[in-house]
């Protein structure tokens, strides 16, 4: 395991939590009732998960499938009830969905009967505190930002998967959340579209400086986008390690060619390998 040499990833404990964290997840635990069990046996999905993000920080969370990454995200979003532990955003405990957080799901989940423009404005519309004109102009600005300006009037079935994911991103960002939560948003895209969107997100994130938690199972993506990478281990999901990424943001694609980048990716790969129990390691490549 890690923790042997000076520059090895530090083990995170709640006692180390600094006071300037914007997002603070402490000792989070979550288990589900086993399906079909009458005796109430439970599966632990998350166990003693602690992590934090400073304001404006881009935290990527990586781990093999089944490590509870998505559950962690929906807990922070307030869409899943927390078992043990606490989640605080900007000093306030999370007890449900809030206007301070917005989620970008893996599936774009655009409403098929709404045009792209009206899909992106959906969150603003539900708030009912903005005029139609204000919504329109904010949405128009956001669509330009994600490169969908020309497609405002299209229906979701008329655009590509990558574009849908841009609209998904725009829908979350346009409500100006303090915390953006992304659940493998590029996971279902082809490699080329994925890289393009990563580049654009890197540029966008650099410009907007929103605190972001980004879930992924793609190691290079985690390093390319994150200020720090949190490695999770499965069954139950725990934080195995946390690594800072030294490259300044915003980053460009060239950074991936640097030896340091490759070394970091290599190290993370090793950490993930050790995090997977032997019985499972055949499943992940």
């Amino acid at each position: 395991m890690a923790g042997m040499t000076a520059d090895s990833p530090r083990q995170v404990g709640a006692n180390e939590m600094a006071g300037d964290a914007f997002l603070r997840v402490a000792h989070l635990g979550k288990s589900y009732r086993r399906r079909g069990s009458s005796d109430g046996t439970e599966v632990a999905v998350l166990q003693d998960v602690s992590l934090e993000a400073k304001a404006g920080e881009f935290v990527t969370v990586i781990g093999p499938s089944g490590c509870g990454k998505s559950t962690l995200l929906t807990c922070i979003a307030g869409l899943t009830e927390v078992g043990d532990g606490t989640i605080e955003v900007d000093g306030a405990a999370v007890s449900g969905p809030g206007p301070d957080r917005a989620v970008v799901f893996q599936h774009a989940s655009l409403l098929p009967w709404r045009t792209i423009e009206r899909n992106v404005g959906y969150g603003l519309e539900l708030r009912r505190d903005l005029s139609r004109g204000e919504i329109r102009s904010r949405v128009a600005r956001m669509l330009e930002l994600v490169g969908l300006g020309e497609f405002a009037g299209h229906y979701p079935h008329e655009i590509s998967g990558g574009m849908k994911q841009r609209a998904n991103l725009a829908r979350a960002l346009v409500v100006e959340p303090k915390l953006v939560l992304m659940d493998e948003p590029f996971g279902a895209l082809d490699a080329i579209t994925k890289e393009t969107l990563q580049d654009e997100l890197a540029a966008l994130a650099g410009r907007m400086r929103r605190t972001t938690v980004f879930i992924t199972h793609d190691i290079e993506e985690a390093v390319f986008l994150g200020d720090k990478v949190v490695v999770m281990s499965p069954l139950p999901g725990r934080v195995a390690a946390e690594l800072p990424v030294p490259f300044p943001r915003p980053r460009r694609r060239e950074v991936t060619a640097e030896p340091e980048f490759a070394a970091l990716v290599q190290r993370l790969r090793g950490l993930i390998q050790t995090a997977i129990p032997a019985s499972q390691s055949g499943e992940e490549r």
């Binding site: 979003a77 869409l79 969905p97 809030g98 206007p99 957080r101 917005a102 989620v103 799901f105 599936h107 989940s109 409403l111 098929p112 009967w113 709404r114 959906y122 969150g123 519309e125 539900l126 708030r127 229906y155 979701p156 079935h157 008329e158 655009i159 590509s160 998967g161 574009m163 829908r171 409500v175 279902a188 895209l189 082809d190 579209t193």
Partner: protein
């Protein structure tokens, strides 16, 4: 591999046209092996089919191949229609039937949408009422006609109840199933944006249920027409239904056909109108 590239590859293998995903939908239907007809062409073919059958009917009748008492003929039906109009029978009959249908179907539509939405939205309510809906839907509702006449007599009210009894169920059932099957992902998006229950219903459940609701309304309209005829046969012999019924008993086949054609025309009209509404509502499907 992305879905698009694999789909494109499959299309190549199947020698189907490849749609690039940017401007065109990936789910767009591909033309079949036979050419698709344009709308005007289809309509022209449909109309000429009807004209052809009417012409054959007339020729067969004029040539004495058909028993005039049983089969009548287009010209006799036309004459009967003119007589009914000049004797001021047809107009009031149509009005009476239209009123019954309007009131009966109107009540069915409003109550059916409300009941269906409530059942689809509140699972506990549905659990209580589902057996009743199933029983009432399964009973041949003609069997209830004598009971209705015991309760409310044989007047307009009884007729409206008959129309309602047959028209409301398809609307209830389709609306319920449409509303209750909300897409989970869409629901999560709405909840993430703090949507209230009412907002979820308005922005996710109802739009998602629209195809099911429209299909319920279509079935309700057709069932409603049957209900009107049924009500008019059994209760008071009024309107077009009554006209057909009494013409039948006095062997005035041509007059009966006039009534039947009026119902056929109404059914066709509803069908066309609904198609147009459907097309407008479902532009997003492409």
């Amino acid at each position: 591999m992305s879905m698009q590239t694999s789909e494109i590859r499959e299309r190549h293998r199947a020698r189907l046209p490849v749609f690039r995903p940017t401007r065109w939908s990936r789910t767009r239907r591909v033309a079949g092996p036979r050419q698709e007809l344009s709308r005007p062409t289809r309509i022209a073919f449909g109309v000429s089919g009807v004209v052809l059958i009417l012409a054959l009917w007339q020729i067969a009748a004029s040539a004495g191949l058909l028993d005039p008492l049983v089969a009548s003929s287009p010209s006799k039906i036309f004459t009967a229609a003119r007589r009914l109009i000049s004797e001021d029978i047809l107009g009031p009959a149509i009005l009476s039937t239209a009123k019954l249908f309007g009131v009966g179907f109107g009540v069915s539509l409003v109550s059916g949408l409300a009941i269906g939405a409530a059942l689809g939205w509140y699972p506990r309510l549905a659990a209580v009422l589902d057996p009743w809906v199933s029983i009432l839907y399964a009973v041949p509702r003609i069997a209830l006609l004598p009971i209705i006449s015991v309760w409310v007599g044989i007047g307009f009210e009884a007729q409206v109840i008959v129309v309602w009894l047959v028209a409301v169920f398809p609307i209830v059932i389709n609306t319920q199933s449409g509303i209750s099957t909300v897409d989970r992902d869409h629901l999560q998006v709405a909840r993430g944006f703090l949507a209230t229950d009412w907002q979820v219903l308005r922005t996710v459940a109802i739009p998602g249920a629209t195809p099911a609701i429209v299909s319920g309304i279509r079935q309700g309209l057709m069932q409603g027409l049957i209900g009107v005829v049924l009500a008019e046969y059994f209760f008071g012999n009024t309107g077009i239904g009554g006209l057909i019924f009494s013409a039948g008993t006095t062997l005035e086949t041509a007059t009966a056909f006039v009534g039947a054609f009026i119902f056929a025309a109404a059914a066709l009209l509803f069908s066309v109108a609904l198609k147009a509404i459907e097309r407008r509502l479902e532009r997003w499907r492409g």
